[in-house]
Symmetry: C2
């Protein structure tokens, strides 16, 4: 019945917090900037939903997440009183989101799932960001779907249904996989099947969803477990 | 300088004529239908540009190539006086375009090119069609770009520039690879670099372009030769 699995990426497949903290420290500390790097990652991520809400509400036209990330970076640097960072450094730091590391189960899990299912990211990240993460981490996608293809941001229903339609599938033939209940609730409301993957340390040690807060079709602790549950 | 290679697919990567003739014969001859199967493939393909022109001109809204192929199939079956083919058979036959075989140099050529370049199809075929051809023939794409992502059909400039932009590249950092001079001329006009691949038997024995009829950056006889020329 399920023909394709589509995936949330930030938090579900990649550990954005540790990676962003590492990248920010590597780029900013040689400039003499000293910060709590995990808090810097959190501050940047905290601007994520409000920026997308500007697009979802229609106040901003659709733009790639890279553009929103850059706007958000300028906001948090200013908020921290750091105005000395030059344009080239800001550009390089902004692409830290293209250099995130995957949770260790993801590459083998995707390889197992690929035997039975079509696979694509269904992320709010733009295509080039998804491409760079795939190259870095060995993700094997059939296509790159999600916000940039739908020209809208999750949790708008069109992003999920557009991904299913790109594979010529009905929503109920498509499994949305995410570590966030809100994402899965929106996918289910759009007619998709859903799988929750626990990422208990996404927002820091012990700070991540350990169980779904919404009704899901599957709840697992890794993509390898998901592949087993789906009959790999 | 070149960071990505994007590819025309029908004719350039896959032998549509032989494959469509084989599929049509396999599906229609058990129904007692006897035709010149190569001529059937040609007739179907001859409806391709006029159907896309309906979209390019704005007379039809953008729709997936699968939809245009189906419209064209009904036209040619009616033109041949074959009205007895039922709906399920028409649907199955229409997806013959998802079951085309690649020229033998393509899979190894893409694997060689992938070491240095981002790779994507830039075809008028829809995403699901590209996904099925990739699975069937072992194409290794970083993303599936082209008409469905751009919501327009080649040779409109937006299709080429949209593919480059999806990779965060300028047109001149992107190499369009095709077996058709018209496709390459349009890509060059949009600012892309271009590579011609000879497919001398695309439209039948001896019926294909053997040399570019427009100025190109590279002219080769296979994707393996292209990989060598680009310094693989």
């Amino acid at each position: 019945m399920i023909k394709a699995c589509i995936f949330d990426v930030f938090g579900t497949l990649v550990d954005w917090r540790t990676s962003i903290a590492r990248e920010a420290q590597g780029i900013l500390s040689p400039l003499g900037i000293s910060l709590d790097w995990n808090a810097f990652a959190d501050a940047w991520r905290n601007q994520y939903q409000p920026a997308m809400e500007e697009v979802r509400s229609g106040r901003l036209p659709f733009s790639k997440l890279d553009v929103l990330h850059r706007r958000n970076l300028d906001v948090i640097l200013a908020a921290q009183g750091i105005d000395s960072v030059d344009e080239a450094t800001r550009r390089h730091l902004n692409l830290a989101w293209h250099r995130l590391d995957a949770w260790p189960d993801v590459a083998p899990g995707l390889n197992a799932l690929k035997k039975k299912f079509l696979l694509a990211p269904c992320s709010n990240g733009n295509i080039s960001l998804m491409v760079d993460l795939a190259r870095r981490n060995g993700f094997v996608w059939d296509a790159v779907l999600g916000a940039e293809v739908a020209h809208a941001y999750k949790p708008m229903a069109i992003v999920y249904t557009c991904a299913a339609a790109a594979f010529d599938l009905a929503p109920e033939q498509t499994l949305m996989v995410a570590a966030h209940s809100s994402d899965l609730a929106a996918a289910a409301a759009a007619g998709l099947r859903t799988a929750f993957v626990a990422r208990p340390h996404e927002m820091g040690p012990g700070l991540g969803e350990v169980a779904p807060a919404t009704r899901v079709d599957y709840a697992v602790n890794s993509l390898l477990e998901l592949a087993e549950r789906l009959g790999d």
